[in-house]
């Protein structure tokens, strides 16, 4: 594997290998005082973020450092991007500077694919850390790792993804990955926050995808609910009448959480808007796996770097 650009078309065997490696890394580091492995010594990882991020950037940096890679962070605000340098020139610069892996987040859908095609003649790997409203594969992998820990397996499990599906790369990546592992995914959102053609999204042969507009009807049979943030920064126009009305119709309140089966898990990719899509009481309840997701994020990203950088060079 040279790049990780999305979960659409990601071979389930490869995804499983990454998840198993993440498990192994988690067990290896458990209880250790010094969390440092020599595996990626001498490799250079550059994170290049054109959008704000806390957990993704931090967990990639920690993942690289725990494996002894040298990690350099570039943010669009403090770089030549501000002087007008194009994405292509920035990418070629980072590769020429010696990056073995570029982790990129960009507001434009498809940016990571473009980057990978520009770097095809180099040995530099590209990891998509979120491109516009397209994909965020490491988030889907860490959600899967968390669901595996909480539920054992996602096969035949019903996962409700609730909220701003239209603007959510997390939802897209999760639909592809979860269905390829046999989950029944239900997208729950108001019609204005669903992408056109969503019913025809390609899904993994083992799983299924369904659309619903009624959160209350889906909760009693859900094994997990994944709440999405309402992405106001991507909204140009009125998608719902008011925040209060959205919250009443699609927010996960305490009363709604009580409708879930006892074993059901609540996920949120973060950052959360407490009181909007999720109430504070639910976010802090034992069934919420939100901090567990962040912890797994580090191990999953370590596993991704391991699979991209530790083995022999692919011919590709």
């Amino acid at each position: 594997m040279k790049h990780l650009l999305g979960t659409e078309g990601l071979d389930p065997a490869t995804a499983l290998a990454i998840l198993d490696t993440a498990d192994g890394l988690k067990r290896t580091l458990l209880g250790r005082e010094v969390k440092k492995l020599p595996t990626l010594r001498g490799r250079t990882v550059i994170t290049c973020f054109y959008e704000d991020s806390t957990r993704t950037r931090v967990s990639f940096e920690i993942a690289g450092k725990w494996m002894s890679a040298d990690v350099v962070n570039v943010s669009a605000g403090g770089s030549s991007v501000k002087k007008g340098e194009s994405l292509r020139d920035t990418a070629l610069t980072l590769a020429a500077a010696g990056a073995d892996c570029v982790v990129v987040r960009h507001p434009a859908s498809g940016a990571a694919h473009r980057l990978a095609s520009w770097l095809a003649h180099t040995n530099t790997s590209v990891v998509n850390a979120g491109d516009g409203t397209h994909e965020h594969p490491t988030q889907a992998l860490l959600d899967m790792a968390t669901l595996r820990e909480r539920l054992g397996s996602v096969e035949g499990r019903r996962i409700a993804i609730v909220g701003d599906v239209l603007h959510s790369r997390v939802a897209r990546s999760n639909v592809h990955l979860l269905t390829s592992f046999g989950a029944e995914v239900v997208l729950v959102a108001p019609p204005t926050l669903l992408p056109t053609g969503v019913a025809d999204w390609p899904v993994g042969a083992a799983g299924s995808l369904r659309i619903s507009h009624q959160l209350d009807a889906e909760l009693p049979t859900a094994d997990a609910v994944m709440m999405l943030r309402v992405q106001a920064e991507r909204m140009h126009g009125g998608f719902f009448p008011s925040a209060r009305e959205y919250s009443i119709a699609y927010g996960l309140s305490e009363a709604r959480a009580a409708m879930l089966p006892d074993h059901a898990v609540v996920l949120h990719p973060g950052p959360m808007l407490r009181g909007m899509e999720i109430s504070a009481a639910v976010a802090d309840s034992p069934r919420a796996a939100i901090t567990q997701q962040v912890a797994n994020g580090v191990h999953v990203r370590m596993a991704v770097l391991y699979h991209l950088l530790a083995g022999e060079e692919d011919a590709a």
């Binding site: 492995l37 020599p38 083995g311 022999e312």
Partner: protein, 196 residues
């Protein structure tokens, strides 16, 4: 004899170095040597911990511990130590899956750790194991037990307990089979180029 599936390689030219019975006897002898060399059970002797290196060092360590218990009535703690993340040849091979690391509950602090592996060859696995060990604790001393020593060391490493010394050509391969992992016990020597 069942017909060979189409496309399968010609039967490998291979020699059985140790039969199932030989494997059992060899492990029993190694167990006696461990008891003797570590003064197992003597007052003042360090506690002994066996750490198997996956894949086949792990079942070997368990068997060795069982024979030690049979002969001495002392149950030595057994664990597994995966060294994949510490290897220096990762970039020369396709991505390797990780093995299981499981330290015994008492840990390895100040213990006499005996690393257990199936075949000793270049010594690089053992070098990686020593690095991995350093990250999980500080044993009082480290020893090495291997079922087969096939020579061709690339590092100044030797085993304290050797089941069988086998002079080999570099191009040959030694395969240790255990019931736990392979369905039967044997040690086989494969000639070059049979792809096994």
């Amino acid at each position: 004899m069942p017909p060979r599936p189409r496309g399968a390689p010609e039967p490998a030219e291979r020699r059985e170095l140790l039969s199932a019975g030989d494997v059992a006897r060899t492990i029993a002898r190694m167990a006696h040597q461990v008891i003797e060399k570590t003064s197992l059970g003597a007052s003042g002797a360090s506690p002994v911990v066996l750490l198997g290196i996956p894949t086949r060092g792990a079942p070997l360590a368990l068997r060795l511990a069982k024979r030690v218990a049979d002969f001495s009535d002392i149950q030595v703690p057994v664990g597994a130590l995966d060294v994949t993340l510490y290897r220096d040849d990762l970039r020369r091979k396709p991505t390797r899956p990780l093995g299981q690391t499981a330290l015994p509950p008492g840990g390895i602090e100040d213990a006499l750790v005996i690393l257990v592996d199936d075949v000793l060859f270049s010594g690089r696995t053992i070098r990686a194991a020593l690095d991995a060990l350093r990250d999980v604790g500080r044993p009082r001393a480290v020893q090495l037990a291997v079922l087969v020593d096939r020579g061709h060391r690339e590092l100044p490493i030797r085993a304290d307990y050797v089941g069988k010394n086998v002079p080999t050509a570099r191009s040959e391969e030694v395969h240790v089979l255990f019931t736990e992992t392979d369905g039967r016990d044997a040690v086989l020597l494969h000639r070059a180029g049979d792809g096994a």
